[in-house]
Amino acid sequence: MTGTRTPAAAAAAATDAILHDTLHGDHRGVVVDSPPGAGKSTLVVRAARELAAAGRPLMVVAQTNAQVDDLVLRLAEQDPQLPVGRLHSSEPGAYDPALTGLPAVRTSAKIADLAELDVVVSTAAKWAFIKVAEPWRHAIVDEAYQMRSDALLSVAGLFERALFVGDPGQLDPFSVVGADQWAGLAYDPSSSAVATLLAHNPGLPQHRLPVSWRLPASAAPLVSAAFYPYTPFRSGTGHGDRRLAFAVAGDGSGVDRVLDEAAESGWGLLELPARHTPRTDPEAVRAVALVVRRLLDRGGAATSERSADPAPLTAARIAVGTAHRDQAAAVRAALTDLGVSGVAVDTANRLQGREFDVTVVLHPLSGRPDATAFHLETGRLCVLASRHRHACIVVCRAGVAELLDEHPSTEPVQLGVAVKFPDGWEAHHAVLAHLSEHRVRWRP
C-alpha cells in the first residue's frame, strides 16, 4: 500500500516501473496517467534522457509549440550535452528564440537536418507532414489525452513503439464539426488518442503517477475526489509546508476577507448576489480584477518547500482563468483599468499544463441561465481548479447549485462509448460543496 510510503518514495517507485516498461518491456506502448502537477514533464525529460543514453534515438510528440519549446529547454537544462533537434514550421517566430543560444540544440524546419540527433521534438501537427524511410524505434507522446485520435493516426507510422503520457482529467479534444456518426467506433477520429490506443491494444501496461507536487495539501484531496474518484492521488507536501501571508492587514471588505480565507485554507469563494448576466458580467469581471489588485497591493508572500525564505507573490505568479475568450479579454481590460499588468489571463484551454502560486477563477456557470455541456465539462473545471500551488479564489454569482439541479446532464448516451466518470454535473457539485465552506458573500 502506497499510503505507508512517503510521497517521494511512492512517486519514485511509480517512475521506476514506468521506465522499466519503457526501456525493457515488450509492449509496443506504455500509457501513463498523470494528475495535475504530478511531474509529467519531469518524467518525459527523464525517459527521453534514459532512452538516449541507452543508444536509442527517439522522437517526442507534444501538442503545442509552447509545450515543445518548454520540453527542449528542460532537456537542455538537465543535460546540456544531449543533442536535441527542434523541428519547427517554416513560419517566422515558430519557436522560442531562447533555443538558439543552447549549444546542443539544433533547430530546423527540415527533418533531414536533424535526422541523426538523439532526440527530435516537435508538435503533432508538424510531425504529421514528415515522411521518413525508416521509422523511429521509440517515441514519447506528451499530453496524449489532449491529442485527437486522428492526429495520432497521422503520426503513428513514424514510430514503432511509444510512451504515452497525459492527464485524463483535463479537457478532452473536440471538433468544431459534428462527429456523432463515428461515436462508439474504437477509432472515432474526434476522441482522444489514448482512448483509441487502448481500445485497439487493451493489453498495454498502464501506470499512473500517485503524487501531485503542485497542488497543496488543501487542494489535492478535493481535486482527487472530485475529478479522479477511481484513481486517487495525494499531495507531495503536508499541511504545514506551504503558507501564504500578507504584509498588509485586510480592510474588512469582501475582497480582503476572501483573500484572508484563501490564505488560511487554500480556497476562497467570493459570492456575488444571484443574477442572470451576459457572459462578460461587468460586476463579476471587476470583482476578479479587484481580487488580483488586492493580492498584489497587500504584499503577499508565499512560503514553500522550494526555498527557506518566503517568495514575494508577484504578478507573474498569479493567473486568472475563465471559460470563454471574451471573458478573458474583459478581465484583461479591467486589470489594465486598475493598473495591473503581467498577470496571465486566459481560458482553461490555454492554461492547461501551466502552474501558478495563486489563481483567480471566474466560475464557468456564474450568472448563466442554463448549464450547457460546454460549461459542465469536467475537464474545464478541473483545469481551473488545479493550476495553483497555494490558493485558488473563485468568483461566482450565487445560485449555481440551483442551476445545476435544474440542468441535469442530458447528453445522449451513445452505444459503445465509455461513459466518463465523474460527469461534469457531479464534479461541479462536489467542488461547489467544498467551496461553500470558504464562502464570503459580497455586494459590489
Partner: protein
C-alpha cells in the same frame, strides 16, 4: 448563438417578424431542384408511409404505402421512388466540362497536369427539415446493400436493380450533407434559419410551417400569432391545420384517420387504397407547398460571391460518385474505416473554417457579427508609415494606423488578413496600439505587396481608406495527408478487413414475421 443573432432574435420578437441574418444567399439553389417530402410510419423504423417527389411544383408525384408493415408494398414503394428519383440524379451525368488537375504520374512520380471530366451541373435534393435529411440517410442505408436477382439468384425477395443504386446515391448525398456549406441535399428549415432569425426558439424553428410565417406572415397578422396557429391550431376533428413537415406524423392523425383507413385496406374493402393515398396526400401537400414557398423566398436573395466556388466542390463530389458507380465499385461500406473517418473529419473541419470565412467576406452583415465577436475590425486609415524588414534584402513592411470603434481580441504579433480588390488576400500582423490611443491599432503589412523593394501600387491602404481586417484566415489550409487505409498503424487496429469480405446481415427468424 452569436451576439448578433441574439440581437436579431430580440428584434424579431419586438417586430413580430423575422429579421434577416444575411444580405445575400449563402447556399447554392439549383434552377431545377428535386423536392422530396417523405413520411414515415410511426413505431416502425425505416417503414415509409409515402412521399411527394418531383421537380415541378404543380405536379408532384405521390407515392403512398397503403400498409407499411407489408414488406412487399414497402419494397414496391422504394422501387417506385427509385424510378422517380434516379432519372433526375442521372440527368446531370453527361453534361460535362474539362478541368485541369495535377496528378502524380505512377511511372515518374512527378506531378503532371491531366484533363478530367467535371459535371457542369449537379442534382440538388431539398427536403423539408433536418430529420428529413436523416431519413434520406436511413433509406440509403436500408437500400444500398439489397441484393438483386442478378447478383444473387438464390436470394428470396430480390430487389430491382435501381433500388440498391438509389441507396448508394442517397448515402452519397446524405454523407455530403454533413460537409458544412455543401448543397447536394439541403433541409428547407436549415436554409431558412441560416438566412433569417425568428422570434422563437431554435427548437420551434424546426417546424417549417411556423418558421415560414415568421419570415413571411400572412397580411394583417404577426409572425408570433401565425406561428402559434401553425404549430397548434386544430380543426373540429382534432387534426392539425398545418401538418408537421415530417417525416414523423401527428399521433392524432395516426390514431383517428390513418389507422381506420389502413384497417379498411386490410379488410379488402373497395376504394380503401385510394382512401389511404388521399389521406397521405392531404398531409404531404401543405408541406410540399411550404418547401416551394421557402425556395421562392430564398431565390429573392442574390447569391453570395463564393457560393459558386462551393457548388463546384459539390459538382466534384457528384462527378466522383458518378465515376464510382460507373466503375462498378461496391456500395459504401457500413462503417468508415479509421483513415476514411479521419479524412472526412479533417475535410469537414476545413470546409467549416472556409465557410465561416467566405460567408463573412461575402456579406457585410455576417462580417458585422464577426466584428462584434472580436474576430475582425473595420476602421479608417489615419496614418501610413513606410518601414522595412531587417535582413540582407529588406522588404517593405509599412505600418498602417487605423481608427476603429470595434473591439477586436488582438494579441501582439497576431496575424491579420485583408481581402484586396483583386480577390487576393493581404497578410499583416498586429503591431500594438498607437501611444495613448486604445482605439487606434497599428497594423504591420507583411504580404500582398509584390516582390519589389517598393510596395506594388494600390497594395498599401492610404489615409481615409476604410479597411477591414480579420483575425481568421480567408482560405484555411486542410490538414496533413493521412496514410493509406492499408497502412493503418497499430495504434488504430492495423489495416481494415477487406470490404468485399463483408457479407450482408444473415437472415434471422425476426426478419420474416
Amino acid at each position: 448563438m452569436s451576439l448578433i443573432e441574439t440581437l436579431a432574435r430580440m428584434e424579431a420578437v419586438a417586430a413580430g417578424r423575422a429579421r434577416p441574418l444575411t444580405t445575400v444567399r449563402h447556399r447554392h439553389l439549383s434552377e431545377r431542384p428535386l423536392v422530396l417530402v417523405p413520411l414515415t410510419t410511426s413505431g416502425e423504423a425505416g417503414a415509409p408511409l409515402g412521399a411527394l417527389v418531383g421537380t415541378d411544383r404543380e405536379k408532384p408525384l405521390l407515392l403512398a404505402v397503403p400498409q407499411p408493415r407489408d414488406r412487399d408494398l414497402r419494397f414496391a414503394f422504394l422501387a417506385e421512388l427509385a424510378e422517380a428519383v434516379l432519372p433526375y440524379l442521372d440527368g446531370f451525368a453527361d453534361g460535362i466540362e474539362w478541368e485541369e488537375r495535377q496528378e502524380t504520374d505512377p511511372e515518374t512520380g512527378k506531378k503532371v497536369p491531366v484533363q478530367v471530366e467535371l459535371c457542369a451541373d449537379a442534382p440538388q435534393l431539398i427536403v423539408p427539415s433536418t430529420p428529413g435529411v436523416g431519413y434520406v440517410r436511413l433509406l440509403g442505408r436500408s437500400m444500398r446493400f439489397r441484393r438483386t436477382a442478378e447478383q444473387d439468384p438464390q436470394a428470396p425477395y430480390p430487389a430491382p436493380p435501381q433500388v440498391p443504386l438509389l441507396g448508394r446515391w442517397f448515402t452519397h448525398v446524405g454523407e455530403r450533407a454533413r460537409v458544412p456549406g455543401a448543397s447536394l441535399l439541403l433541409p428547407m428549415t436549415g436554409l431558412l434559419t441560416r438566412h433569417w432569425a425568428t422570434g422563437q426558439s431554435m427548437l420551434e424553428d424546426q417546424h417549417l410551417g411556423a418558421l415560414l410565417v415568421w419570415i413571411d406572415p400572412p397580411p394583417g397578422t404577426s409572425g408570433r400569432a401565425a406561428a402559434e396557429y401553425a404549430e397548434s391550431a386544430r380543426d373540429a376533428d382534432g387534426q392539425l391545420r398545418c401538418p408537421p413537415a415530417g417525416p414523423a406524423t401527428d399521433p392524432a392523425f395516426d390514431n383517428r384517420l390513418l389507422a381506420p383507413a389502413m384497417a379498411r385496406y386490410d379488410a379488402g374493402l373497395p376504394g380503401a387504397e385510394d382512401g389511404v393515398r388521399d389521406l397521405v396526400e392531404s398531409l404531404l401537400r401543405p408541406t410540399w407547398d411550404a418547401v416551394w414557398h421557402g425556395i421562392d423566398l430564398l431565390r429573392a436573395l442574390p447569391a453570395g460571391a463564393h457560393v459558386a466556388d462551393r457548388w463546384k466542390r459539390d459538382r466534384w463530389s457528384y462527378t466522383a460518385h458518378r465515376d464510382r458507380v460507373r466503375a462498378g465499385e461496391p456500395p459504401q461500406p457500413r462503417r468508415d474505416d479509421a483513415v476514411t473517418a479521419a479524412r472526412k473529419l479533417s475535410a469537414r473541419e476545413s470546409a467549416q473554417a472556409q465557410l465561416d470565412a467566405q460567408e463573412a467576406l461575402d456579406d457585410p452583415l455576417v462580417m458585422a457579427g464577426r466584428r462584434l465577436a472580436g474576430a475582425a475590425f473595420q476602421g479608417t486609415v489615419t496614418a501610413v508609415e513606410p518601414a522595412f524588414s531587417e535582413g540582407r534584402r529588406p522588404m517593405p513592411r509599412p505600418l498602417v494606423t487605423l481608427r476603429t470603434a470595434d473591439r477586436p481580441q488582438l494579441s501582439e504579433g497576431g496575424k491579420l488578413y485583408r481581402s484586396l480588390a483583386d480577390g487576393k488576400t493581404q497578410t499583416a500582423e498586429f503591431a500594438g496600439f498607437a501611444p495613448d490611443e486604445p482605439d487606434a491599432p497599428v497594423v504591420r503589412l507583411t504580404g500582398g505587396m509584390g516582390r519589389g523593394r517598393e510596395p506594388a501600387p494600390g497594395s498599401v491602404p492610404e489615409p481615409d481608406d476604410t479597411v477591414c481586417w480579420t483575425l481568421f484566415e480567408h482560405a484555411p489550409r486542410g490538414g496533413p495527408a493521412l496514410p493509406d487505409p492499408q497502412d493503418t498503424p497499430w495504434t488504430h487496429g492495423g489495416p481494415p478487413p477487406d470490404p468485399a469480405a463483408e457479407s450482408p446481415d444473415p437472415v434471422t427468424a425476426e426478419d420474416l414475421l
